[in-house]
Symmetry: C3
Subunit: 273 residues, 3 copies
C-alpha cells in the first residue's frame, strides 16, 4: 500500500542531500520537511563527499547547473554509489541546451541512478541521446495521453530496463515504471504548472520516499508522485477568491505536510500495467 511508504518516510526521517537549482531550492527544502524527510544542500566539490556521506539519499537536479556544481554532481554521485545510497536524477532542461543534455547523459553513464524523474521531453532526450542517430524510442510522443498510453507505457518500461532505473515521467498522466511494471497515475491538476518547481519538489520527495523504502522503491516513487498530485488537487480545491499561484504554492506544501496514509490511500488514482 502506498500509505505504508508514506509512513516509512515519517518514521525514518531520511536525510536527503540536494544538488539543485537556486530557483526552487527553498521549496525543495520545505517540501522535504513537509513530507517527513530532512534536507541538506551543498554543491561545492570540496564539500559534497562529506555531506552526502551523512545522508540516505542524493537528489541531483541539473537546473541552473554550472561547472562547479556539475563537478560536484559527479563526486557526490560516486560517493553515494559507493555507500549504496538512493540516487535520483532530475534532468531539468535536457534537450534545451547541449550542456544540459550532455551533462545528463554523462551522469547516466558514470553514476548509477535508482530513479530518473523528468517530463516527457526530457526523458525522450535522454532516450535518444545527444547524437544524431535516433534510436527506436524516437517515436515516443511528446505528451502522454489516453490515446498513446499503451505505447508510452512500453516506452517507459523499455527506458527503465535499458537504464536499469525506475523512471518517472510526469505530466497530465504520470508514469512510474521499472522493467516489469508501470504505475499509471491520474492525480494532479493543470494549475500546478503555473507554479515554478513542482517537478523539482517531487524529485526531492521521491528521493526521500525511495530512501525510506529500500525494498520497494518503485512503489515508493509511485507513492511520491501520488502525494504530489493529490496535494495539488487539495491545494486547488482550497483556493479562495483572489488567490493565485503564490497561495497555491503554499497550499500544496501545506497539504503534503498534513498528508497521512489514509488520505493517500483514499486519494491516490492509479493502476498498474
Amino acid at each position: 500500500m502506498l500509505g505504508n511508504c508514506l509512513e516509512n518516510v515519517r518514521k525514518t526521517v531520511p536525510l536527503v542531500h540536494n544538488i539543485t537549482n537556486y530557483v526552487t531550492v527553498n521549496d525543495v527544502a520545505n517540501v522535504l520537511l513537509a513530507c517527513g524527510g530532512s534536507p541538506i544542500m551543498s554543491d561545492e566539490p570540496d564539500d559534497v563527499s562529506d555531506i552526502t556521506s551523512i545522508c540516505g539519499g542524493l537528489n541531483i537536479n541539473i537546473g541552473t547547473l554550472n561547472k562547479r556544481s556539475i563537478e560536484s554532481m559527479f563526486i557526490a554521485g560516486a560517493k553515494a554509489n559507493e555507500l549504496g545510497h538512493v540516487v535520483l536524477l532530475d534532468p531539468v532542461g535536457a534537450g534545451a541546451s547541449a550542456l544540459r543534455t550532455n551533462t545528463a547523459i554523462e551522469l547516466m553513464e558514470k553514476v548509477k541512478f535508482d530513479v530518473i524523474r523528468g517530463n516527457i521531453s526530457e526523458i525522450k532526450t535522454l532516450a535518444l541521446g545527444s547524437g544524431t542517430t535516433k534510436g527506436v524510442d524516437a517515436d515516443a510522443a511528446d505528451t502522454v495521453t489516453e490515446d498513446n498510453l499503451d505505447r508510452m507505457v512500453a516506452f517507459a518500461k523499455s527506458f527503465a530496463a535499458k537504464t536499469r532505473t525506475i523512471v518517472a515521467i510526469t505530466g497530465a498522466i504520470d508514469l512510474v515504471a521499472d522493467e516489469g511494471k508501470c504505475y499509471v497515475i491520474r492525480n494532479g491538476h493543470p494549475e500546478m504548472s503555473k507554479i515554478t518547481g513542482t517537478g523539482c519538489q517531487l524529485s526531492g520527495v521521491a528521493t526521500a520516499y525511495a530512501a525510506a523504502n529500500p525494498n520497494n522503491k518503485t512503489e515508493a516513487v509511485a507513492a511520491a508522485v501520488c502525494v504530489m498530485g493529490l496535494a495539488g488537487e487539495i491545494g486547488v480545491a482550497g483556493m479562495q477568491a483572489g488567490e493565485g499561484n503564490s497561495s497555491l504554492r503554499n497550499r500544496i506544501i501545506d497539504a503534503i505536510y498534513n498528508m497521512d496514509a489514509e488520505t493517500l490511500n483514499k486519494g491516490a488514482k492509479y493502476e498498474v500495467r
Copy 2:
C-alpha cells in the same frame, strides 16, 4: 490600451531567460508564470547561448553578480541581440559598488538593451557614468516628486534618447520613457518596499510584456509597471489583521495571476507627457 498588452502576454506566453540574483529568483519565476509568461534561468557561460536562443526575451539583473554570471550576461546579451530578442537590464545596486556600476555600464556599451529598469539612484549612476566627469544630468534629483516632475520627465526622456532604450524609473511615482514620450504612473503602495524583490519581479514582467508586444514596447513596459503597482494596491487592500510582508508578497503575485485587461484598464493611473 494597456489591457491589450496584458492579453498579448497571456496569448503568446513569452519564454523569458533570466540571469538574475539568487535572492528573489523564485519570486521572479512565479511572477512570470502569474503574468502569463514562462521563465527559464541559466547563468553558466557554456549554457546561456543555447538557453537564450529558445526564448523570446532576456532579463539581465546584476544583483548578486559574480565573475561567472557576468561573463554569461555578455554572452547571452550578444546572442539575444543577434536573434533580435527583447533584452532588459536591471542594474541592481549600480552606484553601491564599483563592480556593479562598471558592469552595468560595460553591459550598456556592449549589449543593445530595449529596456533599462531601476530606481532613480541606479539610473542616475548610469547617466553620470563611473568616471569623475559629471554630465548635464548630474542635477537629477534623488526621488521623483510632484515638485520636480517636469525636470525628471525631461531627464528620463533624455536618458532614453541617449541610450536608445526605454527607461523605467520606479519609485513613489514611476516614469516609463522613450525619446518622445513619458508615462507618469501613480500606481503602487509604499508597503511594497517592505518586500524584497518587487523591482526584480517587475523587471521579469516587463521583459515578458515587451517580448509579447514588439510593436509598442514603451506602452507594454508602462503596462507592466501599472500591473505591478496595481497588484500592490490590491495586495495591500486585501491584508488581514496579523498579516505582514510575507503574506503581502503572496497577495501581490496572486493579484498578478488574476489580473485581466479590464481590471488593468480600470485601475491603471497614468498620464502621458
Copy 3:
C-alpha cells in the same frame, strides 16, 4: 528592556550585508525587512568590500559555501572589522563536513566576530576544534535541557569568554551568553524546526539588532532570539485547519513584521543567569 532594542532597529533601519546560503536567502531578506532592517546580498570577492562598507552589519552564514563565497567571507570580514561594523557568524553545518568545520574555525581565527549563532552541535564543534585533541568542553551535551542547564550555561559563558564574542546557542531552550551573563530563553515552538531556515533568519535579525544597539549587544541578541521565538509562538497559534509549514513560514515573518516593543516585552520568556 528588550523592547527598546526592537525600537532602535525600527528607528535606525540598519543595512545588513549578508553572505549567506541560497536555500534560505529570500526569507532572510524578507525577515530583515520585517524586523525593520534592510538587507543587501553579495558574495563576489570583487564586490563585497564596497558593499559591506555601506552597511552597518555583516552576517556570514556558511551554508552552501563554495570557494568563491569563502574568499568573500574573509574579505568582507576584514573590511567590516576595519570599519568597526557588527559581524555575526552562523556556522551552518560545522561538524557535518571538514570544509564547513575548517572554514568556520579559520573565520574565527582571522575575523573578529561580535556574535556567533548556531545550534549546540555546531557550537560544540567550534569549541572542540577540528583537531583530534578534545578540550574540556567536550562534555557539552547535545541538547540544552532543564537537567543540564547549569552546565550548558557555564559552557556558553566559557565559549563566549574564550572567543570574545556573544554566543547564541539555539534549540528548545536558547542561550545567549557573554563572558559575564547568560540569557536563558524559553520562547519558540517545536514546529519551527519543520521550516527551513528559521536559524538563518534569526542570524539576519540578530545582526540587525546588534548593529542598532551597539552599547548593549548581548541584550540586543537576546531580544532578537526572543522576537524569533515569540513570532514562532504567534505563528503556530494562528494556524488554521489544513495549514502546514509553508503557511507557518509566512505567519512567522508576518509576526515579526507586526511585532512591537510592548508585544515583545510581554511575550519574552527569559531569565538572566
